[in-house]
Subunit: 415 residues, 2 copies
Amino acid sequence: LKASILAIGSELLTPQRADTNALFLTRRLLEVGVAVALRQTVADDMQLLAAAFRHALATTDLVIATGGLGPTEDDLTREAAAAALGRGLTRDAAYLDALRERFARYGRVMAPVNEKQADLIDGAVLIKNPRGTAPAQSVESGGKLLVLLPGPPGEMEPLFDAQVLPLVRQRAQGAVLKTRVLRIASMGESEVEQLVAPIYKAFENPRTTILGGAGQVELHLVAEAADEAEADARIEALARPIREALAGRVYSEDGKDLAQVVAALLKERRLTIAVAESCTGGQLSARLTDVPGSSAYFERGVITYSNAAKADLLGVPGELIAEKGAVSEEVARVMAGAAMQSARAAIGVGITGIAGPDGGTPEKPVGLVYLALAGAAGDRVRRAHFPGDRDRVRQQAVQAALEMVRRGLLKLAPL
Amino acid sequence: LKASILAIGSELLTPQRADTNALFLTRRLLEVGVAVALRQTVADDMQLLAAAFRHALATTDLVIATGGLGPTEDDLTREAAAAALGRGLTRDAAYLDALRERFARYGRVMAPVNEKQADLIDGAVLIKNPRGTAPAQSVESGGKLLVLLPGPPGEMEPLFDAQVLPLVRQRAQGAVLKTRVLRIASMGESEVEQLVAPIYKAFENPRTTILGGAGQVELHLVAEAADEAEADARIEALARPIREALAGRVYSEDGKDLAQVVAALLKERRLTIAVAESCTGGQLSARLTDVPGSSAYFERGVITYSNAAKADLLGVPGELIAEKGAVSEEVARVMAGAAMQSARAAIGVGITGIAGPDGGTPEKPVGLVYLALAGAAGDRVRRAHFPGDRDRVRQQAVQAALEMVRRGLLKLAPL
């Protein structure tokens, strides 16, 4: 089974923009054993688009197109795909009603331009898009499968996973490819590699890929087997020694991110948390409240950027700041303790650091962050020095704070 | 002049690798007024490659291919391009000698596999590659220009600049392409389209593309002109009526995001801001502190998730919450005012809403958000009902709050 990806939109053909959808789709397709043989990025031009669809359908068996499904004049994907297939487009009355209702629900009248989002290629199946107004569609032709997906990653990715991947898996047939992702926080890519390479290199199946991000490393274990049970057994045979070598560092094997893992632990134990942030500017609170149902455990957060805010909201003494500096172990401890006490929460977290680009000194360089934990998960403090620019420092600090809470709750040794 | 780029190599079709050569070539081509209408990335497969060359030659005037010119079995670019053009390949005796000499100079005997690097498409011009063994070649066919370049950026980039760009410039005849991006907050894509389509449709040059996101729409204006000044004038001729039609909605034309625009306004006026968030959980503070140097204007933020936090940190009376509900205009107003006063900041912002998925009622559905502004940018309040899931509701609420601050500072009418 040969696949191709077609990314649609003139804005993707600028020097600034790389096509990230193609990377996501390539990864997902590989996970089910399908290799991508061709990628195209095409401008919003009817003739070019139709030619690109014809080219993709002539050379590959599975064509995944993203983008160009919106309501504007530039959105030509439906028309071009229909032309390439030699089929017509029919407006789906039921979807049109649903679209009108959606607008009405938000107290708006649907502009007429939106109607074409209900156009379906003859013979295609409409795939509902709960996150947007443009539905996806899939169509078979001459043994080939063509799928049109919306461009925004927040819409495309869940739609692909839930609705398209099962169709692809059916066609890929025979062997089952299964992936498990082991996630590790607060360790560098090379550090993880050092520890686990001797283990995974002894395995031909599963294959292992290692991927690094800000404050996070992922190990992708991909097993090929006759059925799911065998694939699971193969993965577990490799995951077990990796887990042991990493001694409690693997925080998730089921797709959950670190905030979701911490949220689940807090909910399970009926514990509440309060947060006092400085350099991370609200990002830790934002991560903890990204999780649906977060009001069960998240009590409050304060972002004490100024020294006055640290004094007013947390009672950090001016003398302590004068003596030790706002970025210090002592101030982080007071922040965590005061956040907990003032909120009457079970756990408090404090973060203070220098995100940069300015504000660093030889003694306290950019990237220096103090993290503190108080209350039911233990009293801990950690000094960390994160590499990278402002964004990376902030992201790594948030990951480190979440990992500190997780390790505290699980009574794992401090980092 | 329409250009296309063809990147060759199976290793480019993995999830980890983005094709950086294409970004370089796109930038260089735009600089001489040539837009890239199509990008392809193709696996090392003779049939696929020949089809990709045919597709590129059929749809565009200038085809730049990179990669696949090496000595190995996988290197099929020369053969595939010749097949697509219906031409033969001839081994260039002079280049073959030069290649042998090159090996001899480094004290090595040339392996026979290297010989095919001297194969030239009939009618092509050989372009010497001082940094590698594979030469580039250019060939004209039916008024179109096809160029084959080696894949390594260290070889490709200097070759392109020195040898290919002059050929392209000749054909492009001195035009310049320039892009300006107009950003608009708190309006839907179709709403913007409705207002501006009648304007931009009257212009052939610049061309306009419209792009939607969560709480944000972008208009890309691309002008073609003899020089920069003319391009700027052409863009301004279209941007002016668009700006007027959108009556203050365009917040950025220079690449700044909304938080950066608000940050610049606050800095310029030496105003400080304090934030009280509920449903957005710290995201507004995080956006405001993403900007380097944010301590100049960001004083503090509180995330009052619980009613107790609203009472403790902002003095929101329990009776008010009991009477009007935590998600209400009145509570949002108190939050904004108290945030400002307790921080002694010039401006206060309050956000309270229902991000979902739970917590909605018929009177107060998921997506309902109250936003309030207090202080030096005016006292305002807005009731909004945002579509989409939890993530989208939160993102749109943050954008709407930033837009509220911007409009207040600029004394634009409330939304």
